[in-house]
């Protein structure tokens, strides 16, 4: 697999190869080279299967980390390809022409993280959420608890909406709150 790391480094400046298991590794590339890296891996290196793609909100360093997980069935090896994109301007190349199911993931990325993949089919259509007008829900600064408290009423029969306090009251009523 080190040959692949060397090849990727030479071709696309890929770095930080990390073997998580003997059948799983990860590598980082610059976002501007993500499309070409994935295309080469698919067409030339046998990583023909896109298991999934998603993002991680690294709000502390103002970046979304993309994670494209590919599998090479011949070698029995999976590779997670990462790139960081600017959190304030979250745009990354679309890969819908490389894999037929990628547009669905990219539609999800737009709705859940606000990450745009220009050219991806139906990317601006609602996917899972309907009439959503808050921050994209998978961003770290979207507070799901505050959203729930503002949107829904508390379940009746509870003195507190805090599950920990409720269970403490229920199980140990004599203990101070």
């Amino acid at each position: 697999m080190n040959e692949l790391a060397t090849e990727l480094a030479a071709r696309y400046g890929a770095r930080d190869w990390h073997d998580q298991r003997k059948d799983l590794a990860s590598i980082w590339v610059d976002p501007i080279r993500i499309h070409d890296t994935l295309a080469w891996l698919k067409d030339q290196a046998g990583y023909v299967h896109l298991s999934f793609l998603t993002a991680i909100d690294n709000i502390e360093r103002k970046a979304f980390t993309m994670a494209y997980t590919l599998r090479n069935h011949e070698r029995g090896h999976s590779l997670i390809v990462h790139c960081d994109i600017d959190r304030d301007h979250p745009v990354v190349d679309s890969i819908h022409l490389l894999w037929g199911q990628a547009w669905t993931y990219q539609r999800e990325l737009k709705e859940w993280f606000g990450i745009d993949c220009p050219g991806s089919p139906r990317k601006d259509e609602e996917f899972v959420l309907e009439g959503w007008d808050d921050l994209p829900m998978m961003r770290r600064d979207f507070d799901s608890l505050a959203y729930s408290q503002a949107t829904y009423e508390d379940r009746p029969g509870r003195e507190t909406a805090d599950p920990a306090a409720h269970m403490k009251q229920k199980l140990y009523p004599e203990a101070p709150l």
Binding site: Q20, S51, I80, L98
Partner: protein, 387 residues
Amino acid sequence: MKRGQHHIIPPAERATPDLNSGKYLVMWQGPQHPGITGNMSLRLVIEGDTVVDCETHVGYLHRGFEKLMERRLYMQNFPLVCRIAVPEPDFNEYCYAAALEELAGIDIPDKAVWLRTLSLEMIRLASFLMWIGGQAGAFGHGTIAQWSVTMRDYVLDLFEELTGGRIYHMYIIPGGVRGDVPKGFLQHVLETMDTIEKNLNDIELVMFHNAVYKMRAQGLGYIPPDWVDTYGITGPNARGAGVARDLRKDLGYLAYPRLDFQPLVGKVSDAYERSQLRLGEMFQAIDLIRQIVDKMPKDGPFREKLPNPLYWKIPAGETYVAAECTRGEYGFYVVSDGTDRPRRIAVRGPSYTHAVSVMERLVRGVNIADVAGLMVSLHTYPPEIER
């Protein structure tokens, strides 16, 4: 290599019917329709009784699991992960537990390996038994569902005996499994397998030799083999197209390398063959369960000691753990930042591909009466799309 030199996939051709022409009808199938698997809907454009265009709509069962899991302790997520796929929660439990064990550097006892494998094969059988009722029912063969759901209940009885729960088991936990087998349980397993095997023989005779079922399922929903990589198709849908991939063999996780089996492969790749293939996998699951009962250690620990789950911090890192569920590749991508809660968990369910991209393409040109049968033949399950 410059862009444009790669092998690219042309965007799926969409029909653009003139809806004002009076020639077409827009019809919604679902979200509450017996021909829809789970809570999902299809916006169909039909001409006469033929579908010319389809849009899939999901979101009716979105519960925000991936977001909720970021707020909870690792152990608190167990009641959530199993609920992502109701018919087969154990695959979620396994992928999540195995991912945490890998990141935390925990090895599990051999007996736990076997009990996990037993649990996964039992739920595979139960899930297929539910599916085959839906597949037969979609073509008007309701009797099969009554038989198969009864058989599924017998498997759920076994789960109740083993775990205390019928639908959600929370049996596979980090470090191993939650409990050992109760006294007499393995004998009950073998007796139940005999009962189900006999019933499956009846189902095979009644369903697969039925002229109506053959006429409607044969030739329906053909998946070309070159779509398998193009669309990320996995499981029986890929194996039906002649692609012999099975993660149980390819990844060799749990006790599968110590079991004697080969992936079942088809070549016709239509709804009829996919259903035959799944029936074959049900017999195969019975065989695997018998092998497990025969080979598993009868004594020894079933769980490794864990740190206090309320203060359990997983070292920073990421991993992706996948398993072969009834529908194909099921996986958990887990990112830890070294705290007591996950940074990110992403769930990869096979229906994400099969029920959206593949379904939208396959359904064009299909008779409206066969849409349900086609969808069930892909064995889709929408909640794993929405997570």
